[in-house]
Subunit: 336 residues, 4 copies
Amino acid sequence: MCGSGRIGRVHAANIAAHPGVNLAWVADPVISSASEVAALYGARATGSTDDVFADTSLDAVVVCSPTPTHIDLIRAAVGRGVAVLCEKPIDLDIGRVRSCLADLAGSTAAVMMGFNRRFDPAFAAIRQRVQAGEIGRLEQLTITSRDPAPPPASYIAASGGIFRDMSIHDLDMARFFIPDVVEVTAHGANVSSDYIAEAGDFDSAAITLRGRNGELVSITNSRHSAYGYDQRLEAFGSQGMLRADNISPTTVRSFGTLAVEGADPYEPFFLERYAAAYRRELDAFVDAIHTGIPCSPGFEDGMAALILADAAAESASTGKTIAIEEVITHEGALRK
Amino acid sequence: MCGSGRIGRVHAANIAAHPGVNLAWVADPVISSASEVAALYGARATGSTDDVFADTSLDAVVVCSPTPTHIDLIRAAVGRGVAVLCEKPIDLDIGRVRSCLADLAGSTAAVMMGFNRRFDPAFAAIRQRVQAGEIGRLEQLTITSRDPAPPPASYIAASGGIFRDMSIHDLDMARFFIPDVVEVTAHGANVSSDYIAEAGDFDSAAITLRGRNGELVSITNSRHSAYGYDQRLEAFGSQGMLRADNISPTTVRSFGTLAVEGADPYEPFFLERYAAAYRRELDAFVDAIHTGIPCSPGFEDGMAALILADAAAESASTGKTIAIEEVITHEGALRK
Amino acid sequence: MCGSGRIGRVHAANIAAHPGVNLAWVADPVISSASEVAALYGARATGSTDDVFADTSLDAVVVCSPTPTHIDLIRAAVGRGVAVLCEKPIDLDIGRVRSCLADLAGSTAAVMMGFNRRFDPAFAAIRQRVQAGEIGRLEQLTITSRDPAPPPASYIAASGGIFRDMSIHDLDMARFFIPDVVEVTAHGANVSSDYIAEAGDFDSAAITLRGRNGELVSITNSRHSAYGYDQRLEAFGSQGMLRADNISPTTVRSFGTLAVEGADPYEPFFLERYAAAYRRELDAFVDAIHTGIPCSPGFEDGMAALILADAAAESASTGKTIAIEEVITHEGALRK
Amino acid sequence: MCGSGRIGRVHAANIAAHPGVNLAWVADPVISSASEVAALYGARATGSTDDVFADTSLDAVVVCSPTPTHIDLIRAAVGRGVAVLCEKPIDLDIGRVRSCLADLAGSTAAVMMGFNRRFDPAFAAIRQRVQAGEIGRLEQLTITSRDPAPPPASYIAASGGIFRDMSIHDLDMARFFIPDVVEVTAHGANVSSDYIAEAGDFDSAAITLRGRNGELVSITNSRHSAYGYDQRLEAFGSQGMLRADNISPTTVRSFGTLAVEGADPYEPFFLERYAAAYRRELDAFVDAIHTGIPCSPGFEDGMAALILADAAAESASTGKTIAIEEVITHEGALRK
């Protein structure tokens, strides 16, 4: 495992609890962090990923290190025939991503992107039910995604902006339902965090996507939410609608003089909200390795999401709708 | 109309708004109250019900005066062939009620009891769906009924006790679903209002009824409720369940740091909560008069509810289950 | 009253039920319809609005006739000092609307626009709470509005298109919260009704508005909805969120083998869903006449909504965000 | 571990996943079952519990064997100073339970009863909030508990009846909130399963408890539920109410032509519904062993629940309210 930050620790715990998988290495330049995590699960710690890749018994690597390291680690793993589960985004530079994709051609090593929300039980269930035809033809998709609190200025500075850092999850979720997006229109605003505005980034955003078959997707993003992590999705079709609401820790409702039926605040942030999703994501990765079935979401999905995020950023700065000329699939086919 | 208190005013407004019905008289010993209500709707006011019954053009009377006057007014109305809608209870003395029933024999005047909850759109819908077989055989019924705040000591003193005054509505609701109740077990407690305990009455109660076909009914009562008027019902059957929850003024939900999905406090009390029920009750009364179909709930239903309330009071004081030997129907048939 | 179609009948019933207001005339070129409605409430019927305006005892007129007649009737009423409550839209031609506004200058007759949703108890409560500061600074507004079924081709042909006919309600709702809208971006799609596409109109739409203070508004529209009339609103602010959900006829929930907690289908369409709103709208109109306080929403609000609808139509056809150069207020002030 | 049936397997998996605890033995007379479970988690299998207790390295044992074996296994464990987590009930014979309690006097081995529902996150949260005073004085408790489908006739025959087998969980839950119960009244009915009636048992029940301080508890039980496992609780107090509803697998809601806002069927049965509770129960057991704090619920709680269950059975057969003369606490104090 490369990286032992907060997501790295989630993956480490899930790997340790997964039957038939062993956590061999924890690599992190902050060796104290690597050692701490490694000790918890009986793995070896190192400050250098070279040690990891020198281990010829390695089957797979989970990459949760900072974004700029992702492509090098993917190349290293794939070059050695080691499967990779890489946290999003692949990179903030689409040119580097395209170059990496070209290099992966012909490789048989599994590469999976960590778009964890695809494995959320509720979102996955809706998608499965949509594909089973339960609501007929999908016409509109509404995604609400608000973080509980904005990240610090240092994070913002390296994030690539709200569209590449935060909306990218929602853009991937849109592609989960509607893989062929043909247009992106985005709006950003600054309403809550002065330091984000000063960094030239937005703290509020609204994105509209158009799918090849006329589907309209509305995404609402905010860098803060007073009532906790807000993660919802509505799929509207010709024969009905399916909706996933937020998750409270329990079903307890309170009834008092000021309000009734009040639920406890939602799960605070992604580590809690998507705990099940992270476990199911690992299951899917392990299954893909065992069965040889291509990983989903794969490298191409990571690239496609970045293309949409880049388009969103361009749209927000130009006030124009951006056409997406290519459609990215596992088979690598372009629209034209 | 006899009585111009808070329920009287609800009925007066509904009569005035009902197409094809005119409010002719408002009678109340408090003549200022009668005059006030009469003036609102263009009716005549009087301090004596004699004036009302002397009006030979009268078709129907709504009785919302104090309980001790009910039987005399029913007799007066029926004796003149005038239809009656009488607020519950008929009387607190079952002997007087039986005697009145005997006197009504042979009369063709419509007599309807004001068990308004039968006309609540939600409860009525559940009963209709239960009767249509939607949940199969009805096995269990759960009724929760809590008033927002206890009445004053003066009211308690004349109320006949919690079972005859408050639970009687729930006992009638039970009979609405399960007309043939064979056993009553009741428990009372004193947990919130000292003056109610001092009056020898309870402020908290739990009642269990058994129906002829093994149905079990659980009723929970409280004289207070910090979160407003609590009026719920669950019907559980062999093939499913139907539930009616409380009603908030709007569908607005609030999301904050302390709680999410909180609704506004429920409708404060019966005048608001059952506003639609009162209107529909009047509709049913007018329809019964026009069509000649027997009123439902009728006098016998009022008597049956009082029999159950008496049994509940007896059970609560003796610690024994009370068998109900008779079953009261419109046809007057007894079980034995 | 001018017009006796389905909305006209709602207004007629509300006028008849309103204390202190009399329905004097029902005018409709379909004289049989006018007579039918007039007979219900003891009013006079006519095929010509001239008869109505010849009645010098007239205080106010409600205009629910076809859109092309609105401006002439407003002029006629205002010219005689008669108050007007006019159904939306004022007209489909912004030039005619501007011309009418110029003519109204100096008039003291009350003119109110029938944006009934402003009077919906839930939406009005949210707006009042937002203005009271409950959720802090308003940052994002999400409006979902889906009709149960598309109107016939004949209606579509004269409707002015989905933005001017349907979205205009949502654009006004956005202005109810955020009066100063500076940008409009809209997307239309054809996914459900071929005859709407053939008429050159859309059956699905997504609109994004930007307010002067960076507020982002997302509107989702569809001409059909398998689960009934879908009318929801979310106001998101710095300190929380307020949400209004759809309204089921009762609180009854069903529990079965296939699903649990299912509510009955929502109110079928606007006549039922907004029944309370229509009553409150009439109350507000009558109050405005009595108090002399300017009507809200007024003529200028009708014009502002049309300006936004025109911008939405332009944006949808050009793929560009449309800047709104003027801000319309009761005082007639322009932004620039 | 003694017993490798369905609950045994839940405990085995939880023990295996628990950091710092090792599953050493799986004992089951059905040796193939013991072996199967043992193999999963690297434990040793045996057909005889003697082998288990001969292992002097044993710290604790989890007893999930048939009820008649419980007391002997508790004695065996405690006699060797081995901690015990024993599934409910201790025994169906209160005399044997009392005798066992006497024998345990002076022992320091931890004994914990498997009333798993106390560890349900929702129920535990409500109890914690009630104890923190959030709803003031607790006045009424409502527990609904319906199994999805009745057990087979063979199970019924050995179950001790619905009160000792099924209601005992709810009686313990009542004691979790109101330890000092002074009266039990119970009603049973036969409405759904002929073979249960033929066995002299009930398939439907309603129980009312009275607490020392006037609290009233209403318990509703059914051996079947068409919409899945129904496990709810309401705590009503002087200042509000807290309610725990059932749990659906996800938050997904469906909106269609027949119903809206429908959730997926609830978790099918206790293994799924209480999965978190079983994990937390094991955590509490391990913590109690490590800290030496008395287990809760302890042996005395198991005995107290059985006393209430016996009283319920007696009440249901005699039609009388049964007084509970003793109050059982960890300190063994009797009421008198």
